[in-house]
Symmetry: C2
Subunit: 208 residues, 2 copies
Amino acid sequence: MSPSDPATTRTGRPRSTAADAAILEATRALLVELGWSKLTVGDVATRAGVAKTTLYRRWAGKNELVVDAVAVLFDELEMTDRGSLAADVQGVVLQFAALLERPETRTALMAVVAESTRDDSLRRRIRSAIVERQKRLVVLGRERAQARGELRYEDDPSAAAHHADLIFDVIAGAVVHRTLVSAEPVDAAWASSFTALLMLGLAGAQDR
Amino acid sequence: MSPSDPATTRTGRPRSTAADAAILEATRALLVELGWSKLTVGDVATRAGVAKTTLYRRWAGKNELVVDAVAVLFDELEMTDRGSLAADVQGVVLQFAALLERPETRTALMAVVAESTRDDSLRRRIRSAIVERQKRLVVLGRERAQARGELRYEDDPSAAAHHADLIFDVIAGAVVHRTLVSAEPVDAAWASSFTALLMLGLAGAQDR
DNA sequence: TTCCTTACGCTACGACCCGTAGCGTAACTG
DNA sequence: CAGTTACGCTACGGGTCGTAGCGTAAGGAA
């Protein structure tokens, strides 16, 4: 996470971990105040009480900085066992939606994804810092459902991985699209309808 | 679409519709070559063979310009009747995925959505120019499925609209997320798995 | 035709942001 | 203590933005 890892730096003055924290904190604050497009690296450095050169020693630019600044927010996501697959899905949907309600993530998430379409290293950074964190919840929820007998265990491990990826894209994609593209709230009612659709399918969801 | 609408301009020299077309075409070409972040308004004007001031007379800035330039690509989307709801879903998924494979849309779509989180007028422009165009397909597919007897007719028109919105967010969201966030291809196999999930639900999709 | 109005191409401009270089100083190591 | 790296600061060239001002071009109205 923080670029000041003493494992690589043996001698000389060590990187200030306080500067790391101040920079990331300032980045989040300015994302709230200004949004992605008006955020400048110089502003972040000033707000953090740090020289611009200090910031550039740690991050290559705005993209990488914002990814790291926002990534920690995804640690809030957790998968409490709610007793059934449907309840777990609904819970994770509402948690993820709450995260996307925050102005930092709202303005930053799609922006860095857009940038990543032309920058492979940025895409990998997003994957490891953000995407994998969310996907863990899906894998965990699936395992719980299998233990409950709500879902079958897959024989083929490759098919199981593909299935988990599919579920992940459907859940995360629907919430993101609803929030940022359709720009309508993910409330309990929507989460309930979505969960029903996911559990029962198009035809089945109409008959509940 | 094109900002040169003679309805408002009565007297004086009319706007050049050729300039409109050249600007939008140049925008798409430079989106392919440079991507969203490195695209500059000055470059577009030069490529279009037009003065920068001419461009600014028509569009407020990069955001609005790119939305209009990309919007026409969504006219390609069409809903041919494939005989069943599942086939229609799979068809529309593959069509939308093909659109997202194009470098113009790939780099531009999420970027303007990200911008729109802080710009209401841009959000409305995206909605009318892009989102509504896609949503029509969902509404049409639903009506066909109802006519076939695959889906029930809803009594409450408000519930029907919510249901269509939900389906739209699920389909479009999953395809976008798979393509741009997970950065993996939407091929026939994925489309088939997704369609099965949407038709049968989580448990049902495992038993096909 | 002659006027009036608006669009066009061109140039120039201040403002802003980027990313880096160079310097003297600070902090930690052997 | 000497060696090494980080820090704050200043300054800079390069690029983009969005606008103003000019003379000219292309239509409509008297």
